[in-house]
Every structure is written in C-alpha cells, then in structure tokens.
Symmetry: C2
Subunit: 178 residues, 2 copies
DNA sequence: TTGACTTTGTTGCACATGCAATGAATCTTT
DNA sequence: AAAGATTCATTGCATGTGCAACAAAGTCAA
C-alpha cells in the first residue's frame, strides 16, 4: 500500500467527514503554483522596472524579438504566451520608447513587421545578463530540485500551447493566479 | 565534467558570442513558471466562474475561512497571499452575495471578524469537491513528476512568506506573470 | 470578378489591480 | 493623561487587462 502524502491523500480518509472537510489552501497545488509564480514575477518585474523602466509584457516582446528576428504580432502572441491586445500595446509602448520599429509586411499587408532598433539591441545587451542572473539565483535557491520543478512545468505547458519551440495561441480567461 | 543541460548551460559556451546571445524565452525558468501558472489559473477560474459565479480571490477567502474559522482581513492577507485591498474587496463581494458576514471584533475594534454564513458553508460543500478534482486532474497529468514540482514550489515559497501554516505578508509589486 | 468567409491588429469598454492616502482604534512613551 | 507612533481596513486613483467589436487585407469558391 502506498503511503499517504499531503499531495495524494489516502482516498479512504477522504470519505471520512461529510460535514465539511478540512481543506488546506496552503497544500493545494494550483494555489501553490500560482503563489510561487506571483512571487517570482513580482520580484523580477520590480527589478526590471527600476533598472530599465520596462514591464514584463515588454520584456517578453524584446526577448522574443532577440530570439526570432522580425516577427508579426501574431507570432509574438503565440511564442510569448500573451493575448494579442496585450502584445499590441506592449509593442506600441516599445515603439514609443524607441526600442522597436513597426512596419507593414509587403507580402501580406495585414501583418506587422516588428523589429528591434539599435536602441533595442543595446537595451537587450543590458537586459539579458540581468535575466540570466535572475534565473541563476532561482536555480541556486532550488538546488537539485530545479530539474524536478522544470520537468513538472514542462508537463503543464505541454498540454495545448507552449512547448520548447512549438507555439500556439491559447484560450480561456482568468485574471490572476489562484 | 557535468553535461550542459538547457537549465544550466555550460559557462564556457556562455562567453562565446558578444554581439547578442541567443536567449530563448521558452527555456527561461521564470517565464515557464509564470506561463504554467497562468494556464492553470485560467482554466480553474473559468470553471469556478461558470459553475459558481465566484472569482479566484473570492475562492481563496472562502477556502481560508473554511480552514481557519472566523478571521480578520489581515489574517486572510497573510494566509491567502493577497494584498489587503484585494482581500477587502473580495470579502465585500462575498458579503453582498451572502456567503460571509462581517462584524467588528469587540476586543480590538480595528479588526474585522469575517465568518462563513450557512450559505457560505453550503457553497463550500459544492466548491471543495471541484477543487479536489481539479487538483487530481493536475496530478494525473503530472504523474510521478508531481513530487518534484511540489518540492520546487516549496523552496520558492519558503523564501519569505507562505509556507505550510507559516503565513507572513509580502512586499514588492508586479502586475502579472513574467 | 464578385461576394462570403477568415485572419490580423487595434481600440472601446468594463472591470480588476496595486499603491498611497485616509480614518479609526490601539499601543507606547513620557 | 496626553501626544506620537503604529496597526487595520477601506477607498480614490491611475493603470493594466481581457473580451468583443471593428476595419483592413487576404483567401476561396462559384
């Protein structure tokens, strides 16, 4: 018989009290995931805002542009896991700040060609090391648990959308983390 | 010499190209965490909104009340990882819906006593099984990786705030996931 | 070619959010 | 006891968000 861990409680024990079971939010996996993500994002965003004056949606756009070269809004939407309106606004802000340029694709005039400017590339040269260091801090906090965490995330992300280099738009709606 | 994994790239290789390193957002751990959390939260929120008409902040308040009995806003703030204004508004909505009652603590009149009503308890009896099932679906998707994921989350949450039964308020600010 | 349908990006709108400011109650210090 | 500092909850405000509606461009079939 397998042991009853906090994550997988003994199904026998679950049937015990009908009146109101003692559900602990702190042990609820979706909540834990959301809370951890919110905490990490908060500190990352704070650092980026203070140091570079950009938000996370903007960071995502820049990072994707660096990786992929000139792309359309639709492309960013798929690869950076953001709604198209969010992408559109982030790109506009970045354009206003001079970090990217927007042009119309001549082959298909519905599409935008978003591209890094020299200023954008210069910003990225300062941005990327900070991101790498942030991840390094995370990994050092995680230690050997990092592999396990990442494997779990891969499974959750594999579901229908984002995987390594396999982008697809997502559906559904939810304001914030659980 | 240890192998160079995507998570821990070979430091030698990192020094290769000065112009612009090829940073892949899809492999960036903070992004992966945020994207996975967003996806899970989205589908959870959708289910709860459709079926019960409540939002995630409201769900968190209800879950904590069920676990802890009558509490103040400050208590919820700590245990449910939400800003106090968010808690205050969620509690007000729940009160308007008849699921909780608000009263003034007689010992300390600054504190609120938020309490489940009968309707609130009845709602929870319907709510909790859905949450449990949602978590079960998550676990089944994760399989053996669940333990590793949860261990990683525990380390990230241990930092300064939420742990199993050790609540503390948090600082910093960030709109959404990375 | 024309007309229906689809895709792409932007925007109006309603709503949620975080932060700072506020008012009330309590605690601390003198 | 009085004055100052602190804690708790609420709210005004600016901002970010998702969704739906929209216009422009492209596709496809008759």
């Amino acid at each position: 018989m397998p042991p009853s861990s906090p994550l997988r409680p003994d199904p026998e024990a679950a049937t015990q009290s009908d009146p109101l079971l003692d559900f602990d939010l702190a042990a609820f996996l979706p909540y834990r995931l959301a809370a951890a993500a919110a905490r990490i994002s908060r500190s990352f965003a704070e650092r980026y805002r203070e140091e570079f004056g950009i938000s996370i949606p903007e960071w995502r756009v820049l990072a994707h542009l660096n990786h992929a070269g000139p792309v359309s809004v639709r492309d960013i939407e798929a690869r950076a896991d953001m709604e198209k309106s969010k992408v559109s606004r982030a790109v506009s802000r970045l354009e206003a700040a001079g970090y990217v340029s927007k042009a119309v694709n001549d082959d298909d005039k519905r599409l935008l060609v978003v591209q890094l400017t020299d200023a954008g590339r210069a910003l990225l040269r300062r941005l990327l090391p900070v991101a790498m260091q942030f991840q390094a801090e995370m990994l050092s906090r995680l230690g050997p648990a990092a592999e396990g965490l990442d494997a779990g995330l891969a499974l959750l992300l594999a579901g229908d959308g984002i995987t390594h280099d396999t982008g697809a738009p997502h559906r559904g709606n939810a304001k914030q983390g659980f």
